[in-house]
Symmetry: C2
Subunit: 136 residues, 2 copies
DNA sequence: CTGAATCCTACTTGATACTG
DNA sequence: CAGTATCAAGTAGGATTCAG
């Protein structure tokens, strides 16, 4: 049931290699979970799942993210339809970010994985310790 | 509920930065999902969820993975306790890889995310198309 | 305040060649 | 067969500077 991860290698095997951006659309699953493994996306999704945030507020909230990466992460999430970006023409301007329905749905699906992580983290740490010990 | 992603920034804020390997153990969630976003881990987990594989067999099955990356991916998964590695002293030697219980459990938790991906991929593609159109 | 643009470094990955 | 070692290339990420 995880096969969908694998791009077809029969039909397109001898076609010119795809660009990273094209590649994205080939495999539905990878296309979506690319954000999950991403260093910052999950953090941002987590914050936004609590309430809408303004840019600077979000930046302070995650604290160790650079402004460049926050901008980029938000753009990517917005592009994929997970995040809404609303500009208020105040002076100075302010921008509010919030989750779309799709974004909320993604966060929901993430929860099971998070619960797994929290529950099994000790086992993983233990396995690592053992492995490292056995392999010097 | 996603806060666990965020490393504590109060207590350790002014301590020396951690190495990548140490960092791993700081956040339980990121520590686990690091494999999820990884380009190959999910593929490998997917294959192994069907049956045990030998090295070369797995390599052919994923086809576009390099032997180097397969070795490395398997090592990482083994280290974290998701994969069993069993060596048969035949001649030439053969090695069999299979999922541990923990590995099976991880795959199970992944399913919800995969279903989300398959179900919502069209929406994401659509959102991207729109976004790209609006932003030239 | 919210970003865009540039530069620069460090890690990741792939190709290739070699070994038990 | 199942790896390890080495080197080259690509990519992601941080720091800094500038702009609406």
């Amino acid at each position: 049931m995880l096969q969908e991860f694998k791009p077809e290698n029969g039909a397109n095997a001898d076609i010119a290699p795809l660009s990273a951006k094209q590649m994205e659309d080939v495999c539905p699953v990878r296309s979506v979970i690319s954000h999950v493994g991403d260093k910052w996306s999950t953090l941002v999704l987590g914050e936004l799942s609590q309430k809408p945030y303004r840019f600077g507020e979000l930046r302070r909230s995650i604290s160790d993210i650079s402004q460049r990466m926050l901008t980029q992460t938000l753009r990517d999430l917005q592009r994929d339809g997970y995040v809404n970006r609303e500009v208020f023409p105040t002076k100075p301007p302010s921008v509010e970010y919030s989750l779309t329905e799709l974004g909320q749905s993604l966060v929901f699906s993430l929860k099971q994985l998070i619960e797994f992580a929290l529950e099994n983290h000790p086992k993983v740490v233990d396995a690592r310790r053992k492995f490292d010990a056995e392999n010097m």
